[in-house]
Amino acid sequence: MATTRRGRRIHPGVERMKAQLRSGSCDRREFLRTVTLLGVGASAAYAMAGRILGEKIVDPLQAAQDAGRRGGILRVSMPVPEIKDPATFDWTEKSNCVRHMIEYLTYTGPDNITRPYLAERWEASDDLTVWTFHLRRGVRWHNGDVFDAEDVIFNFTRWLDPKTGSSNQGLFAAMTEEYDTGERNADGSPEKGRRMRAGAIEKLDDFTVRLNLSRPVLSIPENLFNYPTAIVHRDFEKNGGDLLAWPMGTGPYTIADFAVGEKCILRRIDRPYWGETLEDPFIGGPIHLDEIHYYDHGAASAAQLAAFASGQVDMTFEVGKDSLQMAQSVPGAVLYEVTTAQTGVMRMQVDREPFDDPRVRRAIQLCCDASVYPELVYLGRGTVGEHHHVAPIHPEYFPLPAFEPDLEEAKRLLAEAGYPEGLELSIDVGNTNGPWQQQVCEIFREQLAPAGIRLDINVMPAPQYWEIWDKTPFGFTSWTHRPLGTMVLSLGYRCGVPWNETRYCNPAFDAALDAAESTLEVEERRRLMEKVQRILREDAVIVQPLWQPKFTVASEKVKGFRAHPTQYHLFHRVWIDA
């Protein structure tokens, strides 16, 4: 068995990945991502890649370190929603409000590399079904309690309890089992739910926990940085289950003042932060900022930008594509653009008429000429969607043959499904992350018309859309970036998971996804993803026009900031150059 110099076991997959990098069957990015998931430290992984490729490759984040200056307040314009329970967070903004107070077991940097956070390291069994997490010692909660395995077990148990209603259920489906809820569905059949399997998590000692999966999953460390997986104190529920009422974290800041819709003020804790002695490019080293202020100027990026332009804030959460030129015109503004796997899908509920007929769904999909959307909607930025929710920037992406729109076939399918004269449809759009969604629907309406499909666009306020996002038969839902395509597929398309908004359930798809998630070899996984992507596209549950680019703007005096494709904020290394 291969071991490190400290005698720790090295996953056999690391050697296989090295061989793949040598042979050229995987690229450097994929190598780095996979070996770090298998427990190799990021710096070591970069060094390994350098040795194999004969280049001097250093961790870019490590290289970007600068001294920084202590003190100052970073003011950010961002919507401030309620933040009661991190397990049920459904907006990135919610997690940003508390990201510097409560922390995650791992984190994925902007370079797509997953690094240790509250977990010091991890190991996976050869078959990727047993994951052992070694927790960092010396981490304390703000009340002085020691962070340990009990906290982690409490969080997993809570996430996977159906009563919590956490989307984490989909991510950790391999730790759950199906059960009879005792209630009946509308058709009289017994209602099934999912809950944690007995023995899915075990405590090996105070600082070691083990996850026992029912099937192999490679992305467990990445899943642990998905925004609802922040670790709360083991007494969270005993203290009311409300983070605001009991703001208890392990991070460098705590909430000093908070008002929904107005502000979230974070102040540095008055005790040493455990991460200050850590060697890590993103979360290690001295904390610079005294305070982080989030101010709510509304979701509209125009107001955020106006606040930035007049120096009321140092940074905005987002800049809309229509405001890019205006943002750049502000003296001292630095515009950050990041390629993401953020998208929006026009998704159909497969158990609701007329979408319960696959021919209708397929016909709708066949009307979509996705090639026009990046140009028309994002002025040439963005990437064409392919109706399977796996992005070209995802490491496991398999390039399927380009999707060809076919109006004649669409008409034929509609006629066969009993709609020879076409049909009337209504789509709900909430413009939940900008008016581009409505613009997409308007273009799609024109593309549907020649096939005899008349699309009525029902525009509603964003919060109202989030009320019905998983209930409406036909709606436009935005999905944030995740480092792996399989993460989104597990969250949104597996049978019976909480965020399955289409009610799609195809055991063949689930099985193909299981197989892909459990495969270490890059080429093999990519080959398996072909099936996953193909099934989802052919089952036609979504029409996916494009992948969005994301923009944010910050003052030039904000140093050390790196835009993250998920729009997650990590300000540990950020400082203000006064």
Partner: protein, 315 residues
């Protein structure tokens, strides 16, 4: 007069009672939906039913309505679902913020529009009159969101003179009120000025003014002592009714500038389906609407000696 006031007051109470009942009927008939709103979309049926029982929702509708009215009269509107705070704690500071905005708008708009309206009305057809008509039609016909965007582009992005939002995040700051007040004054002054101008022009052509002029009274005395009082009756009504607009009609401006006023609160409540907050905001808005109507009616009667009512007329 007192009878008129009492009658108008009675009508005001009746309107509020009817609106409150309709409001309660719309929002609180579907008890499970209320529980779903409060407990969140992932709450189970069992959790919702337990909550309904605990909160007394299983009592008859009219009993619940009666209790809601009693609580509302005491200023207790329940807890906001979105803001997780008592509605009353949110309502009063937001009303105060809107009152500051409205007060400043009134302070600038009333003297400006009355002065311009009177001057234009005094000389109908003059250059000033035509100029004012053109300007007021222009400013009134430009919607607030357009003038707000224009002023922000000019004063925030181009000249960099003024703050772009009015959230008062660092404490109260007068400079943050400049743009929202400017937008509202621009939008509204033309309307009041035109009403004043029309009223003044009408008065200036009346017989008693002509008599006063022919009597040889100086023009300024004619205007100030004889024309102005009558000419201001119509604008008075219009101005009082603007109070209602400045409370709940300025949503666009408050949202645009992120000003934490009553309009923005109403907008948030509606967007998030915050039932208790919508109920409270609606009742406040209705109260201000009917109360300003009441003040307008009574005030108009007091100011205008030609209006007398059957009961008090001496034949």
């Amino acid at each position: 007069m007192l009878r008129l006031a009492a009658r108008r007051f009675g009508a005001m109470i009746l309107i509020m009672a009817v609106v409150s009942f309709i409001l309660f009927l719309i929002f609180e008939t579907d008890k499970l939906a209320v529980a779903g709103k409060v407990l969140g979309p992932y709450s189970s049926l069992e959790q919702r039913e337990l909550w309904l029982e605990r909160e007394g929702y299983n009592r008859p509708f009219l009993v619940r309505y009666g209790e809601w009215v009693t609580d509302a009269l005491r200023g207790d509107f329940g807890e906001s679902i979105r803001f997780k705070a008592p509605v009353a704690d949110l309502l009063w500071p937001r009303l105060a913020n809107s009152a500051i905005l409205a007060g400043l708008v009134f302070l600038l708009m009333i003297p400006l529009s009355l002065l311009l309206g009177v001057l234009a009305g005094m000389r109908e057809g003059s250059l000033l009159d035509r100029g004012l008509s053109f300007l007021s039609i222009l400013t009134t016909s430009v919607p607030e969101f357009a003038s707000a965007a224009f002023l922000v582009a000019l004063f925030v992005f181009e000249l960099r003179w003024l703050p772009g939002t009015s959230a008062m995040t660092g404490g109260f700051d007068w400079s943050q009120l400049v743009l929202p007040v400017a937008v509202l004054v621009l939008y509204d002054f033309g309307y009041v000025a035109r009403m004043t101008r029309a009223s003044m022009a009408e008065v200036m052509t009346s017989h008693y003014i002509r008599t006063a002029i022919l009597k040889g009274l100086p023009r300024h005395r004619v205007v100030l002592r004889h024309a102005l009082r009558n000419a201001l009756i119509a604008p008075f009504t219009v101005i009082v009714l603007q109070l209602n607009w400045l409370l709940s009609g300025v949503i666009v401006v408050e949202v645009f500038f992120a000003y934490k006023g009553f309009g923005a609160l109403l907008y948030d409540a509606a967007m998030f389906g915050d039932i208790y907050l919508i109920e409270a905001c609606t009742m406040v808005a209705v109260f201000v609407a009917v109360f300003s109507q009441f003040v307008s009616d009574v005030g108009y009667t007091l100011l205008n000696p030609r209006i007398r009512f059957a009961g008090s007329t001496v034949r």
